[in-house]
């Protein structure tokens, strides 16, 4: 079980983790035994409260803010997919497409639960969003999002690529913390989702790769859909820290390859500006 690994990892940097978690090792054993019995959905909360007890009320506000920010985005994604499965008859083709969207929906739900538990455990109040808090047409920009499968996939891609960029943008705030590892573990799942949604669109004739490439004429947006320009702002960067130009770094590394090789972050204000289009 994952929880044991997490504690072992902490033990490497904090040799006294077991003592922190409990003055008696026997009590820890009890915890693991209980852990085997509790439902998996309860684990994030249990895990969070355990860390909280171990380190006291020391979760910095900036970290809690990142958790609630991530939770907001996960709610957005979860409700978007959940509605498509439950309340948009005929939208998702049966078989592989419905299966993939269900897989993704389930992951977003798991992320919501995990982050909710983490915020609560940090002694803060998790944000909460219902389906009715969102307008997935973004004020009729995507009016047929739940009746036109291609529009739905285009919005899904924008959400996933935004999610990847959003987590990346907060890495520095979580630097050196266990929260960073968790965030990274969510981040790469979102990237897997993004690649699959992009492949689903490509299979339906969209000129799109699983990775974010260089847009036509060198623009950052590789989707050709102007309404999502802000989702891809700055993705055509080909200079990486400290000052390394990736284009031409080796034979065959074109500007497109350079852009594809590195996903760029988005700042919190930029992400919230995108998200706000979908929040009532």
């Amino acid at each position: 079980m994952n929880i044991v690994n997490i504690i072992e990892e902490i033990e490497k940097v904090d040799g006294e983790i077991y003592e922190r978690l409990s003055p008696r090792r026997a009590a820890m054993k009890d915890f693991f035994n209980v852990g085997k019995k509790v439902a998996l959905s309860a684990v994030p909360l249990a895990l969070g409260s355990m860390f909280n007890k171990a380190y006291g009320q020391t979760v910095p506000t900036a970290v809690v803010d990142v958790l609630n920010y991530a939770l907001t985005l996960e709610y957005l994604e979860y409700h978007f997919y959940n509605h498509s499965i439950l309340a948009a008859p005929g939208l998702l083709p049966a078989g592989a497409p419905l299966g993939a969207i269900t897989t993704i929906r389930d992951h977003e739900k798991a992320h919501v639960d995990l982050l909710k538990g983490a915020v609560t455990a940090a002694g803060a109040t998790p944000v909460e969003f219902a389906y009715t808090d969102f307008d997935f047409t973004a004020g009729n920009t995507f009016a047929d999002v739940y009746t036109n499968y291609d529009t739905f996939l285009a919005v899904a891609q924008a959400f996933e690529d935004t999610g990847v960029r959003a987590y990346k943008g907060q890495a520095a705030v979580l630097k050196g913390l266990d929260y960073l590892t968790i965030a990274l573990q969510i981040h790469s799942v979102e990237a897997r989702h993004a690649a699959h949604i992009r492949s689903m669109r490509a299979a339906r004739g969209a000129s799109i790769k699983p990775w974010i490439s260089l847009g036509a004429g060198g623009v950052a947006n590789d989707t050709g859909i102007a309404a999502v320009d802000k989702v891809y702002a700055g993705e055509n960067l080909d200079i990486q820290a400290p000052d390394i130009t990736i284009t031409g770094i080796a034979t065959g590394v074109t500007k497109a390859a350079a852009v594809e090789s590195f996903d760029e972050p988005l700042t919190k204000p930029a992400v919230l500006e995108i998200a706000s289009l979908f929040i009532k």
Partner: protein
Amino acid sequence: MKNSNQENEVLQENSILDAKLQRRSFLQYAGAGAAGIALVAAGCKKDRGYGNGMGGVTLDFKDDFGVLNYAYALEQLEAAFYIQVASNPPAAFTAAERAYFQDIQFHEIAHREYFKKALGTAAIGSLEVNFAAINFTDKASVLATAKAFEDLGVAAYNGAGKRLKTDAYLLAAGKIVSVEARHAAVIRDLISNGSFANSEVVNAQGLDQALQPDKVLAVAGAYVKTQINVINL
């Protein structure tokens, strides 16, 4: 392919530190085994020093350079694999599959060269790979290896992120890992559509894997001839 500078450095250091290194050297020899990876036992991690005189490269996790060199080693391995596949793909590959492997090849080369430049004189040398276990003419063998490399790469970056102390390098690693995750998803879907993020790699909490360097190198080492020494993990 050879790392003469590093080998010299290693030999020099050894002559000075021989006495201190005896116990560790034993552990390194013992751990070298088939995989070619020498892991320093936890109890000795406060020792200072470099390799054990057998040559190879040393990943010293005491600072960000160690983490970047670790990523550099993995990217070298991936790039070498994709170069071989892209230049001579299995006959059964479709045009789309050829195109994917062509793209991924250049991504991995870009990552490899990025780390080499970022590390400058701190970069480890070039690794010699061992792909004897891969049947490059067989599509299934190639895809299975690609899947293993990509999933492992994602888990490696996820597990190592917390070690990075420099914002810029942490961000750079983040920029790369999501591209590796995109690769992983594509390769998995080529093997079985819909397996892009299945329960083999994403747990019930919706989390991808995160592995520590010793676990990652124990797997990756099977494909590397050059001995990789790990210290200060």
